[in-house]
Amino acid sequence: MQPQIDKFGDHGVLFRWPETISKEIQHELLSLDAFLQKQHGERISETVIAYSSLAVFFKKNLDVERFIKDFEWPHLGAIEKPPDSATYIVPVCYDADFAIDLARVSEHCEMQEEEVVQLHTSVTYDVRFIGFLPGFPYLSGLDRRLYTPRIEQPRKLIDKGSVGIGGRQTGIYTMNSPGGWNIIGKCPLNLFNVSKTPPALFQPGDKLVFKAISMQEYERIKRLADQDMFEIQKLV
């Protein structure tokens, strides 16, 4: 499907597909992103990916209107599908010390706390894009039985590593931040590190699963991760 293309500020264009969250759109979007980097890389400063749109920001001296007029569409369907990403195993401790809103989620979803954890760890999530905070992965795939509205009064401080559910979404806070999601656990990994290339642990197109771990295991992994000695595991 050919997306709509519009000027987006003095140095950008915005490619938009219909506003839905679908795998086909994600594939086309990632394909177009790769195509643009390859064909127009020297004119592009950076691109930003979201659910169904792609922003391209050009280096300052480019005439954006001219670019739109002259843009030759690649046949997106013909672009080779990117290879399937590995599925990363993300450890999460759902211990009561961390899971400050687990009771609220369990009550809202009318199930036991154990079932919430079981459902949260039983699906494979797709990383759609990175946004909100540096390295914060927007995930799709949350079981609809776990949809829980955000808390009414957002908290001023949510700890780095906190795993939350906000509406139909789930994710991991990559740094201390205000936030309104229901916190159900904590992940010991560092999802963003300025001394790494790239600085974000996950990329759009990656897949991940959550694995429940004990408090002892959380502390062991956290110690290793903080010394940059923890290698994230993949599903085989």
């Binding site: 519009d6 000027k7 987006f8 500020g9 003095d10 140095h11 950008g12 915005l14 938009r16 506003e19 839905t20 969250i21 400063s45 950076e46 691109t47 930003v48 990916i49 979201a50 659910y51 169904s52 749109s53 792609l54 922003a55 920001f57 894009f129 990175i130 946004g131 909100f132 905070l133 540096p134 390295g135 914060f136 927007y138 990559t174 740094m175 201390n176 963003f192 300025v194 790239p198 600085p199 974000a200 759009p204």
Partner: protein
């Protein structure tokens, strides 16, 4: 070097921004008023991308333990060296062991202190711009040391002593393009946005400028999409949020307008409580 004796409010080190990392969720950052920051660098013969100190009033109190040449631009602030008022508008020579203080700005918002050779704070992901979680600190604090280059006869010759720094005029209009969701508005909603007078809220900062008008326009949220500095978002409650340099890279509010580069600078100069209109280009 410069020792921070008092940080003032909202004082940060900024350059032109952290390009290339927005796809990883890293805000662009960089100076709010590029025109004024660049002017302060150019008059000193610095590269335009040299890091400067950006501050709002009241400004910081800074102790220079080595000589420096500085330029102060942007929101007009009186400058005092060891308590003595000095002329602004041109480069200023600072001698060893001098205390630099600022009076409150009489208009506009952001002032810039450029130092010959630039501020040499650590570069992280290709930029010296402060952002909490990326650089070590989000703002300067009392006791901080800001490293600067050592002045030489040669570097002092690059300074345009005779030139004058530009001044900021009154801003009444802010230039904008239609945003991605503008066509979805009704004709009445479009009129309400383009004809109304907006007031800048005091709850504004480097992330966002909040603006209010008497006519409230309400629109639904969108599926999260890319945003950038200058994106004018309309929240379901009717508050308009204009994203500034430290804004998130994606957002879920309707993007009704997109400021031009010039419009962004215009808005950055409007004080809380002042009024303006958007001008569609």
């Amino acid at each position: 070097m410069i020792e921070v004796q008092h940080p003032g409010i909202y004082s940060t080190v900024q350059d032109l921004g952290r390009y290339g990392y927005r796809r990883f969720g890293v805000p662009l950052s960089g100076v709010m008023d590029k025109e004024m920051a660049v002017a302060a660098n150019e008059i000193l013969g610095n590269p335009v991308s040299a890091a400067v100190l950006e501050f709002a009033s009241p400004g910081p109190r800074l102790f220079f333990s080595k000589p420096a040449i500085i330029a102060v631009s942007g929101a007009p602030v009186g400058v005092r060296i060891n308590g003595e008022k000095v002329n602004t508008g041109r480069p200023i020579l600072i001698e060893t062991n001098s205390l630099l203080t600022f009076e409150r700005a009489s208009s506009a918002v952001w002032s810039y202190l450029s130092v010959k050779g630039g501020l040499l704070s650590r570069e992280v992901l290709g930029s010296r711009s402060f952002f909490p979680g990326i650089t070590k600190s989000g703002r300067i604090a009392a006791g901080d040391i800001l490293e600067i280059a050592t002045l030489s006869e040669l570097s002092a010759q690059e300074v345009a002593w005779g030139n004058k720094l530009p001044e900021i005029g009154e801003i009444e209009q802010v230039a904008a393009y239609q945003g991605p969701e503008f066509p979805l508005l009704t004709e009445l909603q479009k009129l309400a946005i383009l004809e109304s007078e907006f007031e800048v809220s005091p709850q504004s900062n480097r992330m966002a400028t909040l603006v209010h008008s008497k006519k409230i326009v309400k629109v639904p949220e969108i599926i999260t999409g890319p945003v950038q500095p200058g994106t004018v978002q309309l929240t379901p409650s009717g508050t308009m949020v204009v994203l500034m340099r430290d804004a998130q890279t994606t957002g879920g509010y309707a993007r009704v307008l997109q400021l031009t580069d010039k419009g962004f600078i215009q808005l950055s100069r409007i004080q809380a409580g002042k009024h303006f209109r958007f001008r569609l280009v």
